[in-house]
Amino acid sequence: MGADASDLSLVRRVQRGERGAYDLLVLKYQHKVVKLVMRYLRNPADAEDVAQEAFVKAYRALPQFRGDSAFYTWLYRIAINTAKNALAARERNPVSYELDLHTNDDSSDMVSRLKDPETPEGLALTEEIRDTVNRAIAELPEDLRTAIVLRELEGLSYEEIAESMDCPVGTVRSRIFRAREAIDRRLREVFDGGLGRTEELV
């Protein structure tokens, strides 16, 4: 089975005019795309803006996507081009960028701080989420931990993991699901505790 069968299924739905399916693709790839864009634009808030622009561009171009390559490969290319264009625009017009940096407008500063993941709140959330996830992984039984690590960090398919762990594919699927459920339970406790707002995730 192709690694992006579900992506293609979502893409086909979007191509039929069901925009809700694209929201799932955004939720799935937002972190990866922001990280990718941050290689070009160091400022996290700028990176989020450019990543957003990349998702919008990809959505507009989706009717032409034929599925020759994986959706995420195609999306990454768009994101990289968008980031490079933003960088070039900034270099062409450094004056306005400098002015933007030194503006004393309180309202724009507030918006920027709210959006900026590197504000103390944003950093605290990031750290809290990472700690929670890492602690939950450490507490997992060995077979579940190996399965989720091979999947999320090594990017192996279920079949490859099954070969590696010498077990059926169905068992791999079950182990990964149980690992996610255990981590998710811990994560929900963090969000319910008020540090994160669950509604933002939906």
């Binding site: 579900s6 299924s9 959330l125 990031t126 990472r130 279920y158 998710d184």
Partner: protein, 239 residues
């Protein structure tokens, strides 16, 4: 299917390990189920945290902002499609209007060229089977056939079309004859090659001499002038 099985499917779908048909059904269910949707989002968050990707985007409402932006894109797209449809409809109606006006002007010109009385015969009819064909008269010149028309052919009955062509001018008396000649060619060439038919009509339209030759007083048969006349006319009709 119970909730746990569905969530297990969700995990497999997130990894691209669910068959496409099941993906389709499950993704539709996610559209209606906020719990599954939130879980999908958290699965992405777990992977991002494990890979040290910037996870605070979840807090900043990134996905929601993208969704709002896309709504704007859809609305603009719909507005643009409406504009294109409207423009197309306006262009089409203009074309129809111009075509109607042209037909009306041509019809009026045909009436002016004929007896000037409007009637059902004014409608252009290109169906050869509905026309009265002009007669061919063989001039009494010892077998030298010259195309001519009887005077009856100049005035078809009111139920029949006036002509296949509209004479450019009614000043010249030969025009009526030229019109009849064109009618004759069209009526008799329905089974001929289109290229030949076009050549004949082109020659007729462009070369007024051809028509004049057909209507010119004929020299008596047997004289050199009569023989020349017959030969030229035959040549003109076969062009």
């Amino acid at each position: 299917m119970n909730q746990e099985e569905r969530e297990s499917q969700l995990s497999a779908m997130f990894d691209g390990e669910l068959p496409a048909t099941e993906c389709e059904l499950l993704s539709r269910r996610i559209d209606r189920d906020d719990n599954l949707r939130a879980r999908w989002s958290r699965y992405a968050l777990i992977g991002a945290a494990m890979r040290s990707e910037p996870v605070a985007t979840a807090r900043s409402g990134f996905a929601r902002r993208v969704s709002t932006a896309l709504r704007g894109v859809d609305e603009r797209g719909r507005a643009r499609r409406r504009r294109v449809l409207l423009n197309t409809a306006m262009a089409a109606s203009m074309v129809v209007g111009v075509a109607g006006l042209s037909i009306s002007m041509l019809r009026n010109a045909a009436l002016v060229a004929g007896d000037g009385t409007p009637g059902p015969s004014a409608t252009a009819n290109t169906t050869a089977s509905n026309t009265t064909l002009p007669e061919i008269v063989t001039a009494p010149t010892g077998g030298s056939a010259i195309l001519a028309t009887t005077s009856a052919a100049h005035r078809p009955s009111s139920a029949e079309p006036l002509s296949y062509v509209t004479p450019a001018s009614v000043v010249n008396g030969n025009d009526a004859l030229r019109t009849d000649l064109a009618d004759f060619i069209v009526a008799h060439s329905q089974y001929s090659m289109p290229l030949m038919r076009r050549s004949l009509l082109s020659a007729l339209v462009s070369n007024e001499d051809g028509a004049e030759l057909a209507a010119a007083p004929r020299a008596p048969a047997g004289t050199p002038a009569g023989a020349l006349h017959a030969a030229t006319a035959a040549s003109a009709s076969s062009r």
